[in-house]
């Protein structure tokens, strides 16, 4: 009796959060924003950096920055939007109710990531189409499958990273600052605009911790038609970043919950 009930509760919690979170707790999930994020921001961001690269005269620079920024635009719907979920919960005064509900936390939290994952997939897919059709980025025939896997894994890993930042935001008054930092930090530390090797070593290490870095590498490799062995390694790193991010976000959520329940208040966060 209890097992099916639990299963139903898990599924219901997942889907309810997947469907309602974009209208309630996730940031920038209005239809106009989502469409703008998918169709307009990638085009304008790629165009902007393509012109900068073109002016700088870096050999092969335009294709490099176009692909890097095509993947980096995923940050808007995955990180910036998702990290606001706990912040909005607190602002709406619903965090207390959430903490005392018996809902499965993993289903609750990960359900919120479903629509951002789909939006992220669409954003990168559209951006790659722009890259190939408008900016004439070389695309190895037969690598569509590798590209699809790379984009999907990147979307999942980035949403996981967004959830992690949402977990950190539990302890902050606002997540906007955090979202802004990681929205743009990726452009510097992920190899989106220039190879990571030009950065000082400590910054390279920081870059290696970002899922975006591995996502961009995987998409670049897929576009270049890299062998399966290389792709598997890169996919492994992307997946690892995503799993670690989600694990850490759950740990942060649990710690916050225990503290809030023990003190009977979330007001100090």
């Amino acid at each position: 009796m209890t097992e099916p009930a639990l299963r139903s509760s898990f599924t219901r919690t997942f889907w309810v959060n997947a469907i309602f979170a974009p209208r309630t707790s996730l940031g920038f999930m209005r239809l106009d924003f989502v469409l703008g994020t998918i169709f307009i921001i990638p085009l304008t961001q790629m165009t902007f950096f393509a012109f900068v690269a073109s002016l700088s005269g870096t050999p092969g620079g335009v294709a490099f920055v176009v692909v890097g920024n095509a993947v980096a635009t995923v940050t808007y719907s995955s990180v910036f939007s998702v990290c606001q979920t706990t912040d909005n919960e607190k602002e709406a005064g619903t965090m207390e109710h959430l903490l005392v509900s018996p809902a499965n936390r993993f289903a609750l939290y990960f359900g919120r990531g479903l629509i951002p994952v789909l939006a992220s997939l669409a954003t990168v897919a559209v951006a790659i189409v722009y890259a190939v059709t408008i900016f004439h980025v070389p695309f190895a025939g037969g690598s569509v499958g590798d590209l699809a896997v790379s984009i999907t894994l990147t979307a999942f890993a980035m949403v996981g990273f967004g959830l992690l930042l949402g977990g950190v935001a539990l302890y902050l008054r606002t997540s906007i600052i955090l979202g802004n930092i990681f929205l743009f930090l990726g452009l510097l530390l992920s190899g989106a605009n220039f190879p990571l090797s030009v950065l000082p070593l400590p910054l390279q290490y920081v870059g290696d911790l970002l899922p975006l870095t591995w996502g961009i590498s995987a998409v670049r490799a897929a576009l270049a038609g890299a062998p399966l062995g290389t792709m598997l390694t890169l996919w492994g790193y992307v997946a690892l970043c995503g799993i670690v991010s989600i694990g850490l976000s759950m740990a942060l959520w649990n710690t916050f919950e225990r503290r809030a329940l023990s003190t009977g208040s979330i007001a100090r966060f």
Binding site: T44, F48, T58, T174, F194
Partner: protein
Amino acid sequence: MGASTYSRRVSLVAVLRLSVLTFLADPQWLVPSLIAPVIFGLVSYELFTGAGPWFVLYAILGAGMMSMWGQTLYGSGWATGQDRHLGTLEPTLTAPTPYVYVVLGRVIWNTVAGLFGGLIVFVVVAITYGHPIPLANPLEFLLMFVFVIVTLAAVGVVFAAAYVYTRYAGFVQNVGEFAFYIGTGCMFPVVLLPFWSNPISLVLPPTWALDALRYLAIPGYQGFGWGFWWDMVGAVGTTLLYLGIAASVFRRVERHVLEAGDLNDW
């Protein structure tokens, strides 16, 4: 001094003071408007490395302008949206002082804060560069930099006026941000853009002002063929035009609101 003039001056000073105090109470908002420009400045600096000493100015000017966009244009444009969010738009519009003076107070502070932002970007990129920044005319450069921010503020005031009629202020500013950077040529000369897009760029006052600034700062700069002085004429002309449009829209807004009795239609 007439009573209305006194009321307007008092309101302007009060709004300015409130903006400063709000900023000091919660200065974190300088961070979002600085993170992007500082990072864009560093990214473009890295991209321009090896392209010659003058190109560091492209990174500084572009990122500085982005910072000013963040603080001045975004801040001023969002002034109306913030009133709507806080529920203070209707009471402010029905106050005896024209709404434009309330917005003006915010714009003046945002302009000053924008200059701070531009200065911070300048310092960060200059430190990364590690050499003296090659400025041909430092004083004129500074004056032109201030003028660029005035042109941005003019766009911000028009946005602030127009946003009374729409709830899409956030959409326009967030989704249109890169389009504005491209259109005004903040990191590269507008002449690099396709010719058909030039008229669109020339509608924006910062396009003219930035081109003039580059003519002033970068020897051998190839911008619009008409040169520095016509850039200045264009910048002043379009800025005045924007301010005129803003004043007219604000008057219209106030009339509409008083006739309709509320702002729920928009």
